[in-house]
Symmetry: C2
Subunit: 658 residues, 2 copies
């Protein structure tokens, strides 16, 4: 029995506006988003990228606005590519003015305004293509999901620029939605097939202070799974479907509509939907101090991270439905592990940290960030993984192979269904939002990313300058300057990968055990300018094992150092990685490789493999002996895989127990 959270002291994350990231590892990613990803995505959604799949996303708005002729093209949720692009732009503008980029965004927003209907309705698919089906196929049409992304864009753009144009548009749209949905006479007692608007409406509530948006979000959360809405609307519609022949197929678990959200104790169905829903649940739980929803959020979170998450922070192990499977079923080679799902997991983690500051949430956030998320983008900012497997054999992925053809052995260009690239862009561009939180006079440091943070603690201005050597060394330093001496608690996360951490304040070692609570070392003192806190984390290489119920990893080991999960690749280790064994007593040696990515530490070890040449062409044999031969193994950081052409890759390696 866990105690209900007492939300007497609200926990607030320090907004990115107050956080300036200057970090040798992360700054290049943010610059890449600014200099390449966002400009490239603007070209992509305007259909100006040679060889990429057409998007038509901007054109759809122009047609809906009466500024162009033509038909709707693209997915039913094509509008969200524009919304997520504007949101990413907003985050860039928050940190650095860019009048050219802002002008482009303003122009786009004016087109959006013209596309909006007088009622407030805004969705180009249903404006152009099927107006008669508006609000009639929530199951499939992503209509509220699309609205949610536009709301997030409107909030972010207002926060960045102070311009109300898009905020007013989305308020009008949200008001329309509030009229359409609800338990009142003539209203739709329903919710969307793809959760997203729930968390967006809470953002809108925060920025406008309008309680109605919070209540609308709460309505969608509370209503979900309590009725048979998707079947009811299908009956009214005559069972028509956007995707299927003859009649719509409704799998309630896919949509998380099989039970009320408070009764969902196992993550099931489409993974992105689950974590977006969870983020919305936590938002509502926090804002309304709803104990049952807090418990439900914890339960769902725990199921995901303790039973269904890859070691890389990936979630959703099945290609079919891009979905969660069952507990402990996380196959490595057929993994889906969508980049967007790990981004959604980070959204949920950051919100769990607003319910209760426990380091386990930040551990997951960091795991997803340093592994699946940055694996999702190449260092040119133009190639992306949607699917992030933990084991790849190009022979399996290529060819006519339905088990694996979602798995790409190299990063791809912009997709027609372009969810992940703009999601990556908006997360990386707003990374400052995930680093620090404050409750009362306690400042929590969750992520070890360098830069300065401006705080206001008990009337004093505090500047916290973090210098981090992560992920390659465990040395982190905070320098403080304050307008006046200030009594403050600096709570530093002790990451779960560090067995032995040290902290020195102004050169004096702190007894960590005495001040640690929920995974944070809490240094309470009167701080003055010039105070220095130095951290030393254990960066020894860890031989990770999986829970015994994980079939895919039985008898296998994965290497992790700091937050970085490692893998072996064909480029270093040859083919037939499934035959490689890492002895349990193998010496693991670090080696700097300056030519991989921007320079990384690899891990070298002596392993064994078999001499496959001794095998005949028989598929099965009782007589063939395959002698084991020594092999020099090189492990590289998972996020740098597939940068040296197509080849085999493997995170979980067979262990030879010595």
């Amino acid at each position: 029995m866990t105690t209900p959270v007492q939300l007497t002291k609200p926990i607030q994350f320090i907004p990115m506006k107050q956080v300036n990231i200057v970090d040798p590892f992360w700054s290049p990613y943010i610059q890449l988003v600014r200099d390449v990803v966002v400009p490239y995505q603007w070209e992509a959604i305007n259909d100006r990228v040679e060889g990429a799949e057409p998007s038509h996303a901007v054109q759809n708005f122009k047609i809906a606005a009466g500024l162009a002729e033509g038909e709707f093209y693209g997915f039913v949720f094509q509008d969200t590519d524009v919304a997520k692009w504007i949101e990413a732009v907003a985050y860039l503008l928050t940190k650095e003015s860019n009048s050219e980029l802002e002008a482009i965004a303003d122009e786009m927003i004016t087109i959006i305004e013209k596309a909006q209907q007088s009622t407030g309705y805004l969705n180009t698919y249903f404006i152009i293509k099927e107006p008669q089906l508006r609000w009639k196929n929530l199951t499939e049409a992503h209509e509220l999901y699309t609205a949610g992304h536009m709301i997030e864009a409107g909030v972010a753009y207002y926060q960045a620029t102070g311009k109300r144009q898009l905020l007013d548009i989305v308020c009008k749209m949200a008001d329309d939605i509030g009229n359409v949905f609800g338990d009142g006479e003539g209203q739709i007692q329903g919710y969307d097939g793809h959760q997203e608007i729930e968390l967006a409406l809470v953002k809108l509530y925060h920025i406008t202070g309008e309680n109605k948006y919070l209540q609308l979000s709460k309505y969608f959360i509370d209503k979900r799974g309590t009725n048979n809405f998707f079947v009811e609307e299908a009956e009214k519609r005559g069972w028509s479907s956007i995707w299927h022949k003859d009649r719509i197929q409704i799998d309630p678990q896919y949509f998380q509509s099989h039970k009320p959200v408070r009764e969902q104790d196992v993550a099931t169905g489409h993974a992105v939907r689950v974590v977006y829903m969870l983020a919305g649940m936590i938002d509502i739980a926090k804002e309304t101090n709803d104990v049952s929803l807090i418990e439900a959020s914890r339960t769902l979170w725990n199921n995901i991270v303790h039973k269904q998450m890859y070691i890389t922070g990936g979630i959703g192990s099945m290609v079919q439905g891009e979905a969660f499977s069952v507990d402990y079923d996380i196959p490595n080679d057929t993994a889906y592990s969508e980049t967007c799902a790990s981004i959604g997991l980070i959204f949920a983690a950051q919100r769990m940290l607003q319910l209760e500051t426990k380091s386990e949430y930040a551990d997951v956030m960091e795991r997803a960030l340093y592994n699946t998320v940055i694996s999702g983008m190449s260092l040119d900012g133009k190639h992306f993984f949607y699917v992030n497997p933990l084991e790849v054999s190009p022979e399996q992925c290529n060819g006519n192979n339905k088990n694996y053809n979602h798995v790409k052995p190299v990063r791809q260009e912009w997709f027609g269904c372009a969810c992940c690239p703009p999601n990556l862009a908006r997360l990386l561009a707003s990374l400052g939002d995930y680093m620090y939180s404050v409750t009362g006079s306690t400042v929590y440091s969750h992520l070890f990313i360098g830069g300065t943070t401006e705080l206001n603690v008990e009337g004093a201005s505090v500047t916290l300058n973090q210098v981090s050597d992560l992920p390659w060394s465990g040395v982190v330093k905070y320098e403080l300057s304050t307008s006046a001496p200030v009594h403050m608690t600096l709570a530093i996360r002790l990451p779960n990968w560090s067995n032995k951490s040290t902290i020195q304040v102004n050169g004096v070692t702190v007894e960590i055990a005495e001040i640690t609570e929920d995974g944070y070392a809490k240094i309470s003192r009167e701080w003055v300018t010039g105070d220095i806190v130095e951290l030393g984390f254990d960066m020894s290489i860890k031989r990770m094992k999986s829970h015994p119920k994980v079939k895919a990893n039985a008898g296998k080991v994965a290497l992790q150092r700091g937050p970085i999960v490692y893998c072996i690749e064909e480029a270093d280790n040859g083919k037939l990685l499934q035959q490689v064994k890492l002895p349990s007593d193998a010496k693991l040696t670090l080696k700097f490789n300056e030519s991989l990515a921007d320079g990384v530490y690899t891990i070298e070890a002596e392993g064994v493999s078999i001499d496959a040449n001794c095998w005949t062409d028989q598929l099965y044999s009782a007589d063939t002996v395959l002698p084991e031969t020594p092999i020099s193994l090189t492990f590289i950081p998972y996020y740098t895989w597939a940068n040296r052409g197509e080849g085999e890759m493997m995170v979980w390696v067979n262990e030879l127990v010595k």
Copy 2:
């Protein structure tokens, strides 16, 4: 470079009419087909089985015949359930008269006759439901496939009873098809989306002596993949589809129409289609002595059995498309391995043996028969596996799990898509067709199944009585009686699982090596009544290994004894089978278990597992040590799995190399 086969001496299988099976292992299966399966299936296709999915197969014929009112119901190929049932009945009647069963079949045939159109056309879906689409969607509609099964039924029923009614029906139907298809003016230059008619037409050619049927079969084989037929007919039809929304989806590899059959060197797409096609290819290759087709058949066969076949003789590793994957991709837990596909592989093997008598073909036939095929049916004859995995965890299969929900942990009742049960019935009822072949004065014994066989060799009547102790002991005996001394070669297959075989003729040991050719020990002598040949096969337990490229089986071992592949089950060995290891030096002990199936030999061994209780609730850990603990392991024959309720099962077990 292999030498082209010289078909100067035709190889003929001895028809089941001349083979009377009396065998402690196989006779119960055949009796089960007679006493339970065929009567039960008659009830099922008449919709009289409580709780089973409706079939409507007989009713469709009644409606088409004008004997009942109503709509077509079922799959587009629903007619084949009736056809396969009649074919199985025919095989039963071949061995034993049964006037009641014959009367039911005759009555059904009369209904079929009434359903046939004046042109000869016969397919209830297109007679009742979509007459305007007749011959317009070969890609999806199984129209020739359905015709093929009816032809096989007509041939078998004529052979069994001498009654021409159904044979005349199918001749008229085949003549109609011959008019519709071909390269002439106004004819369709096409072929079916599901191969089957090719092999059926060769049977019709054999029974009628009408060369036109052989030529029509050859036309379908030769034409396949040489044009863009499926796309062309889709264009003409406006891209309509039976299965898909908006427009038909055509994956040529799925249909084996991506290349001419002579260029298909890798088995790809739907597995049953591939092996049915291969059977037809071999038929035509043999009948026309077509060297290029012989080579193509060998190539395709070798790809299947040397790169894509499970150790159980299962093929088609992917649920999506019930299809072949790529070479060496044969996962154990997501396996499809359809019962029908292994039956088709047996059809192909028997035909390869008619091209060239090499024991490797019979080895595969035996492997499929003793493992996947009989695993497909419960010993009550009423429950079936369509999918035959090599590894099962009920937690994975149950619940909302798209990776595994094709895998059933226990045998199921009659399905709506009821392909496998009647296919099993017709194979088992005609098992005598697969045992012996003759070329010149050489009699080949391919399978070790007891019973008597009547032969005519060089004018003399020969009776061969086989007594077999397989699969539990390697003792087999042949007793001969002849009307006169006869010079004959008895060629006995030396199975690939026997490292050391012995043969004695009338008590005198034969030097096998000197007389062995292509895997058959050829005993040439003048035989007289009372001659006895005794075989002794090596029945030691084999520790089977897989080709190093098979990822799923790396580091694993499977046990095989004689033709029987073994597995471990939760009922004997507890849960978490993935953590079990079989030491490479473990002593393997046979033990008779009279309570499992009809009594089987199990294999006992000392293995190790882990003590999973030491693990915490974390998904990953660097610190937890799981001590290995000894465990007594029991391996049971694969075909007897899932007879003791739901539980884990595993064929390929981790090996602990000592």
